[in-house]
């Protein structure tokens, strides 16, 4: 689904229905994804681990980005910290190449520009407000592709242990309210997640992590 969506959308999307074809929202800056080794999230609905992608946002004055808008200094900082940079035009991204899209936009103050989002965000204009819908399924397919192709390193067992420790702490905190029926439900869900987390890791990365090291 995500592949189709990417193929069908132009790099500069003008399908938004705003005044004179502009999205009624302030312009923002494009960004570049990167991945930190410890950046993993638990998806409770899909019962799986998914990588969390950080962003270097080209905001002038942020992390070394100067008046010329070049994100090179901020990208260099991320690289120095050992993070994996995922440039939008990286050929390894295959069908997910050029993950950034822009909409022509105009702020309430009349400032025109571009509003940058990922391929998985679709705007709807409601009066003066813009509502965004996320294609979570498509985005997770993109993330899965990054893992499958080795663009993102597999989740290490040490990272899993850290996450499990936080999950265990959470269960213990909740258990202090064990008499409360609302918390009993939460405790059950937290315990189920705790079990699922290790199982999912074994299924997704068991054996892979050792090879990577």
């Amino acid at each position: 689904m995500a592949v189709t969506q990417v193929a069908n959308r132009s790099q500069e999307d003008s399908t938004a229905t705003g005044p004179e074809g502009y999205l009624p929202i302030a312009p923002n800056k494009p960004f570049t994804y990167f991945h930190a080794d410890q950046g993993w999230m638990w998806d409770p609905k899909g019962k799986r681990w998914v990588p969390y992608l950080n962003k270097v946002i080209g905001v002038r004055g942020a992390n070394g980005v100067g008046s010329n808008g070049s994100t090179a200094p901020a990208v260099a900082v991320a690289m120095q910290r050992g993070h994996r940079i995922i440039q939008p035009q990286d050929k390894m991204l295959g069908p997910y190449k050029n993950y950034l899209y822009s909409f022509p936009c105009i702020s309430r103050g009349g400032l025109k520009g571009k509003h940058w989002v990922t391929a998985y965000e679709t705007p709807t204009v409601r009066g003066r407000a813009v509502r965004w819908k996320t294609d979570t399924k498509g985005y997770y397919e993109f993330l899965a592709y990054l893992v499958t192709k080795g663009i993102v390193s597999p989740m290490g067992e040490d990272i899993l242990e850290e996450k499990l420790e936080l999950a265990q702490d959470r269960i213990e905190r909740l258990a202090k309210h064990g008499a409360n029926p609302v918390y009993q439900k939460k405790i059950k869900a937290a315990e189920k997640s705790f079990t699922d987390m290790r199982k999912a890791w074994e299924k997704q990365f068991g054996g892979v992590e050792g090879d990577d090291a």
Partner: protein
Amino acid sequence: MANEILYSSIGDLTVAELLHKELQLLLHDPTDLRSTMTEVSFTPSGSTALKIGQIKPDDVMTAPGEDTDPGNTALTDDSYLLTIAQYRLIRAVSDLAQVVGIDGTVDIAKLASLMKMSADRTLMTILTSLFASLSNTVGTTTVNLDVDDIYDAMFQLTASLAQPPFNCVLYPVQFTDFQGSLRGETGATQFTGPTNDMLALKGTGFKGSWNGVDFWADNSVPTANAGADSAGAMYSQACFAYTEADIVAALGQHTMRFEAPDGLKILVEEERDGRKGRTDLIGHYYPAVSEALDGAGVAILTDR
């Protein structure tokens, strides 16, 4: 009875509506997060970039035994860059608008004083954009923030050796989710709302404290996971550093300007275009914010 003088019958003597002298503000975000960051003074030195060196001060000593050389211990060092960027905001007001404008509506001095709020918002937007760069994360994607996410963030920071007090800046929806979750909490830990003294100390937009953590809600908190989540953050003061180049000191004496309140480093100049009958008000601001210590912050990823 006839010919009564009614409001509805003297249309030539009344106006449909009268513009009130008071100008009220539309919804906006006045949050000022300067107090959550480390301020670095900007000294003009021939570059827009300041490099700030960092060292690890507490290498443990060795005890190799009597008459044994313990060897040298290298200094663990790091650095970060603060590169100022040129920001401007222009308000162009025609003479006609000023001539017919009632006092206080299109008042040049008032517009100039509002530049401070624009500069504040600019700095906050730069800061919050960096939440998306923090390596450590807590929270559950597409699930509402709850008290346990805040505990997770505190534990993560403590494990990373970040020094309290911690500041927590959330997207407004994340903050309301937190408030909702607090309703179910029991025990001695209470949320303390902001007092006037605390607002004066911590800045506008401060929401209160809980468990030793100060809370803010800011509308510029970035999205995460393709817009499904917000990337709020909890961090110690050492996590982010900011600077503001003193444009007032550099140019103020040569430019017609309005006084910036609280010694803020914003230059507001007035440019007159007599041929067009227009006055331009130009605000200049040179800020920079950087992640000084990545480990001293943690992103809180929960449903937006």
